[in-house]
Every structure is written in structure tokens, then in C-alpha cells.
């Protein structure tokens, strides 16, 4: 009886896993297939479209720019959000709802509305500050705010922030030390998660860049598809694989403490 139920549960799990796996992998597989063989199933497999990526300067440039934007956005997000959230939790708890509301707001405004609002601002930035595409980081910071906030908030909720910071301060730690040596290491998983979400969002962003007349990865992929569909698909697959690898790295480095602890217990 019991074992029969366990078996049913197991079958159910495997089925769900397979269906979901197929849901994600079939399109990627199809894209890979298309990028290596073209439209014909009988055509010989070739990596021409993949090697062509590096021969298109616009694509290489866009990849590099998007990666830079991803890094800048993540770093800026952490630098802005983490100290603010810690401070609000410790000293200004009454402001927490307001900060949460502000951070979640971008989620409720459609991207297109956000961009329209930002057009005059970016016109001004292009004239008075810089024409560099890296200025997009400001807009992306707003874009990633809701996701990062949620993730970091969950991380902060999982530690006894008040006691840990007070303990560190009683031992002689200034606020910088408290943040870097006590808060950050104890919510490294949440921080990595927030960064991953930011990176994924930035690498996949199209609307902002396109409407603000910048050429990031997604915009470049679109333009490339007019020239060579195969290459554009190859880049898209590569971007997806990159995100996938990031996710894998995350799941491996996310819990070093537990792993060390388990290793010690086993010893």
C-alpha cells in the first residue's frame, strides 16, 4: 500500500520532470538544430553559423556591451539596495513598506510605458552626459529593482540581522565591516540569486534598448536575423546556454557552508 503510493508519487514526479524538461529543451534543441543545419533535415551539420558570430563585429560588440551592462547593473543594484535595506530594517522599520512599494512599482508599469517616460530623460543624457550605451544601466537598475528587492528581502529575513549586527558592533566592527564580513557572507545565496536575476534580465532585455535607440545583444540579434537567421539563432542559443551555466554555477557555490559542515560531520 505504502510502497505503491510511493511508486505512484515517483512516477508522477518523473512525468512532471520530463514534461517540463521537454517544454524547455525542445525549443532550444530546435534552435540548435536550425542554427547548425538550416531548414533542411537532410543538410549536413555545420557550425558555420556559430563561427560566424565572431565574424560579425556588431554582434561581438553587442555581446560585450550586454555583458558589461549586466555586470554594472548587478553591482549598482547591490550597492544601492543592500545597505539601504539593512539600514531600513535596523533603524527605520516604519519606512519598510514604503521602500517595498517603491521597489515593486516597476513591476506594475508596462515596460513600454516606462520607456516612453524615459525617452526625454535619455535624450538629455545623450546630449549632456554621454552617448555611451552603458548609460542604459540606469534604466536597467529600475527594471531589476522588484526582483532583486524580493530576493534580498527573503535573504535578510532568514538571518537575525539585529542581533548579528549588534554582536559584530560590540566586538569592534564599523558599519563597513558589519556589511562585508557579517551581512554579505550570511546571505550570499540571496545575493547570488539577485545578481543572476539581474544578469538574466539584462541579457534578455529588448524593449528599452530598442526604443531608446541603443544596440544591445537582443537588438543586435534582431538585426542579425535580417542578414543571417542561422547566426542570430546561434547567438540566442549561446545566450541561453550562458544563463544556464550561470544557474549551474549558482547552485554549486550557493551553499558552501552546508557542504563544509556535511563534510565535517562525515569525517
Amino acid at each position: 500500500m505504502n510502497s505503491a503510493r510511493r511508486l505512484r508519487l515517483r512516477i508522477f514526479r518523473i512525468t512532471v520532470f520530463l514534461v517540463m524538461g521537454a517544454f524547455f529543451l525542445v525549443p532550444i534543441g530546435a534552435m540548435f538544430e536550425f542554427s547548425t543545419r538550416g531548414n533542411s533535415l537532410t543538410a549536413p551539420r555545420t557550425l558555420d553559423t556559430w563561427t560566424a558570430i565572431i565574424k560579425v563585429p556588431d554582434l561581438v560588440q553587442a555581446i560585450s556591451v550586454s555583458l558589461q551592462l549586466a555586470v554594472i547593473t548587478s553591482v549598482a543594484m547591490l550597492a544601492l539596495l543592500l545597505p539601504t535595506m539593512v539600514w531600513v530594517r535596523l533603524r527605520l522599520p516604519a519606512l519598510r513598506r514604503i521602500i517595498e512599494f517603491i521597489c515593486l512599482l516597476p513591476l506594475t508599469v508596462p515596460a513600454i510605458a516606462l520607456v516612453v517616460g524615459m525617452v526625454p530623460l535619455y535624450r538629455w543624457i545623450k546630449i549632456n552626459v554621454s552617448e555611451s550605451i552603458l548609460m542604459l544601466a540606469f534604466a536597467y537598475l529600475v527594471l531589476v529593482l522588484p526582483y532583486s528587492y524580493r530576493t534580498l528581502d527573503a535573504g535578510l529575513a532568514s538571518i537575525d540581522l539585529k542581533t548579528l549586527t549588534e554582536a559584530a558592533r560590540s566586538l569592534g566592527a564599523g558599519w563597513g565591516t558589519v556589511m562585508l564580513r557579517v551581512v554579505v557572507p550570511n546571505m550570499s545565496t540571496a545575493i547570488l540569486n539577485a545578481c543572476l536575476l539581474s544578469v538574466a534580465l539584462v541579457l534578455g532585455e529588448f524593449t528599452f534598448a530598442n526604443l531608446l535607440l541603443y544596440e544591445n545583444l537582443q537588438v543586435a540579434i534582431l538585426y542579425q536575423s535580417f542578414v543571417s537567421a542561422g547566426t542570430s539563432i546561434a547567438v540566442a542559443v549561446a545566450a541561453l546556454m550562458f544563463a544556464f551555466v550561470l544557474l549551474l554555477i549558482l547552485s554549486f557555490v550557493g551553499r558552501p557552508r552546508e557542504r563544509v559542515a556535511r563534510a565535517e560531520e562525515a569525517a
Partner: protein
């Protein structure tokens, strides 16, 4: 006591005990007065326990000494140096918290070494002192475990070692035992006292548990509504409470109606000397400790002022607490268990009141605290 020669020099006794003075400390939260002019001086190496019900201001006092909160008035002085405006991380305090406060990403050893690292103690010295401190609290075998692998009592002992490792001027203990179960609590309580005596650090200990305070403190300060009601050695606070509040908060108290006449209070036919010798004649409530009540023997069935019926007996181990119904009032008596066994529930007994000095409470002067 002789400690091992290797450990002695590096232990915090090198900087044993500075005088700690709290001068007229005040603190208000949104209109509510948490601390109403608290003054207290801790002698070098002394352990003072602040005792009181929740909300009496004892934790606020401790946090002001720690620098974790700002004062609305008054001064905090460590060894002659005014630290009132010094931030917590520069005050050279050691603190143990009520909640478990070990850094989860560090081992016990790393936790203990953390503060020394911030104080720029060299690696070799740091390592040595950290192991000495862990040895002092009896946790050497667990030096490389993480907080989640340690029991609550072990975590608090590491926290104590961590606080002492930086050789603080003052050790602050914020109800460090209240999250632990009774048996561990009693053991750790004695251990805290042993360690404190060994290192000689001036210590402020905050608790709501009178037993804890009486057991380990040099002096106990009983607080109520942001004020110090009484400060004195545990024996004095217990046997000579200065105010009715102290009498009712520290230990159990029987409240018996009586009449003050010529410097003594007459309670149900027994004259008891007074703590407040200047009390004027008239009706009053006498506060009588259960251990000052004895069972004099078989009471006859005729109702007398101290004749009554045993209605319950609480077994406490070596002693028992017997509740006696005198008709208009119930009285608690604390007796040796062997004596109490002679008077099971339902038997008639006659009480006697030992003529220890008692406190009185006047209805008009001090309203009933319940």
C-alpha cells in the same frame, strides 16, 4: 585558584576590572519613559545583576552602556573615561545576547577570533587566545564546529568566550540564559560566574529571573518603571527588601492584614518587628515570606486566628510549599519536605509566624500591586 601557566598571561585578567559608572541615565521612547534617571556604580571586577519585570528598563540600561542606543540624558563612564558619545564599536565592551548571536558562517574558533582580528591582534596571538578562551568555557573539542552544530548552551558559551576574547572593559550579559532549558540554565549560570571571577571583568547582567540574579551577583539591583528600587547584596535584597515592590518581586510573599502599634505590626495575634521602624500606628498589610511561616502542629478544630486547613502542597525537592486556608485568606508556608509530609491536604494545622522583621504596605501610601 592556580590556572595553567600558558593560559594565564593571555587571559583577560591582564586588564581585570575597571569601574563602570552610570550617571542619571534617561531614555524615552515615543513619550514612554523607559529609564528615569538611573545611577549605578559597578566596582572593578564586580558582577551586578539588574533584575525586574519586562519593561522595567533593565535591558534599556544595558543597551545604553553598550552604546547600542543613545541616551536622552546622563553619562556612561568606564574607568574615569566618559564614553557616552563613543559608538558601540569603540567602547571596548563584550556582550552576550539573549538570542543566539554566533556568526553562522564561522566556526566557534573563528567567532572567538573575529573580535581580536578587528582589534588587530596578530595571527599567532589570536589563535592562541581563541583556544585559551574556548578552553576556559570548556569547548575546546568543538572549536571547529559551526553554530548550527552546537547546542544552545554551547552557543552561549562560545558567545561568552567571544565577548571576553577582546579583553573588554565591561562585560554585558543581556538575559543570556533565557533561551535555554532549566537544567542547562543553572549549569551555565554557575559557569558564567566562575569564568567572570577568573577573568575579573566588571560585569552587568540583566535578567528577569530572580533566582539567577540572587545566585551569581555580587549585588542585585531591582528595577521598576525605569528606576532602581533597591541595590544591595542578594541576601539583603531578599531578606530586607527596601520596598513592597522588591518584597513581592523577589521571592514569594504573603500579604497579611495587621495593625502597626509601637514599632511592631500585629498580625493575627503575633507581633512582628518592622523593617520600617518609623512607621506610624494604624492598619497596614504585612509582607511575610513563606519561609517565615511554620506549621506549629495539629490545630484544634476551633477557629483561631492562625488555625486553618492545608489545601495544597507543592513538592519542590528538598522543600515543599504548603498552601493553608485560614478562612478569610490563604497563606503559603515553605517547609522542609519531611515536615510538610506530616500535613497532607485536608489536615488541620496551626501556623506560627517567625518574628523576622517584615515590611508593611499602607493602602493609601502604596496601592496594592496584586
Amino acid at each position: 585558584m592556580v590556572s595553567s601557566s600558558s593560559g594565564a598571561s593571555s587571559r583577560p585578567s591582564a586588564r581585570a576590572g575597571v569601574e563602570v559608572r552610570l550617571e542619571d541615565l534617561k531614555r524615552r521612547y515615543a513619550g514612554v519613559t523607559a529609564l528615569d534617571g538611573l545611577s549605578l556604580t559597578l566596582a572593578p571586577g564586580e558582577l551586578v545583576a539588574l533584575l525586574g519585570p519586562s519593561g522595567c528598563g533593565k535591558t534599556t540600561a544595558l543597551r545604553l552602556v553598550a552604546g547600542l542606543e543613545e541616551t536622552d540624558g546622563g553619562r556612561v563612564v568606564f574607568g574615569g573615561e566618559d564614553v557616552t558619545n563613543v559608538p558601540a564599536n569603540k567602547r571596548e565592551i563584550g556582550m552576550v545576547f539573549q538570542a543566539y548571536s554566533l556568526f553562522p558562517h564561522m566556526t566557534a574558533m573563528q567567532n572567538v577570533a573575529f573580535g581580536m582580528q578587528l582589534h588587530r591582534v596578530g595571527v599567532a596571538e589570536r589563535r592562541k587566545r581563541a583556544s585559551d578562551m574556548l578552553e576556559l568555557v570548556g569547548l575546546s573539542p568543538h572549536a571547529h564546529k559551526y553554530a548550527h552544530q552546537l547546542s544552545g548552551g554551547q552557543q552561549q558559551r562560545v558567545a561568552l568566550a567571544r565577548a571576553l576574547a577582546i579583553k573588554p572593559k565591561v562585560l554585558l550579559l543581556d538575559e543570556p540564559l533565557s533561551a535555554l532549558d532549566a537544567k542547562v540554565r543553572a549549569r551555565l549560570r554557575d559557569e558564567i560566574r566562575r569564568v567572570q571571577l577568573e577573568v575579573g571583568t566588571t560585569t552587568l547582567f540583566v535578567t528577569h529571573d530572580q533566582e539567577e540574579a540572587l545566585a551569581i551577583a555580587d549585588r542585585v539591583g531591582v528595577m521598576q518603571s525605569g528606576r532602581l528600587e533597591q541595590l544591595g547584596p542578594p541576601m539583603t535584597v531578599y531578606s530586607r527588601p527596601a520596598t513592597p515592590f522588591v518584597a513581592s518581586f523577589v521571592g514569594l510573599t504573603n500579604r497579611l492584614n495587621g495593625v502597626v502599634r509601637d514599632g511592631a505590626v500585629e498580625v493575627r495575634g503575633t507581633r512582628l518587628p518592622l523593617v520600617q521602624t518609623d512607621a506610624t500606628n494604624g492598619p497596614a498589610v504585612a509582607l511575610v515570606r513563606p519561609e517565615a511561616v511554620t506549621l506549629a502542629g495539629e490545630g484544634d478544630s476551633t477557629p483561631g486566628p492562625l488555625n486553618g486547613t492545608v489545601i495544597a502542597t507543592a513538592f519542590l525537592g528538598a522543600t515543599s510549599r504548603v498552601t493553608v486556608d485560614l478562612g478569610d485568606v490563604t497563606v503559603l508556608a515553605q517547609l522542609a519536605t519531611s515536615d510538610a509530609a506530616a500535613h497532607p491536604a485536608g489536615t488541620r494545622v496551626r501556623l506560627a509566624l517567625r518574628p523576622d522583621p517584615v515590611l508593611i504596605e499602607r493602602d493609601e501610601a502604596a496601592p496594592d500591586h496584586g
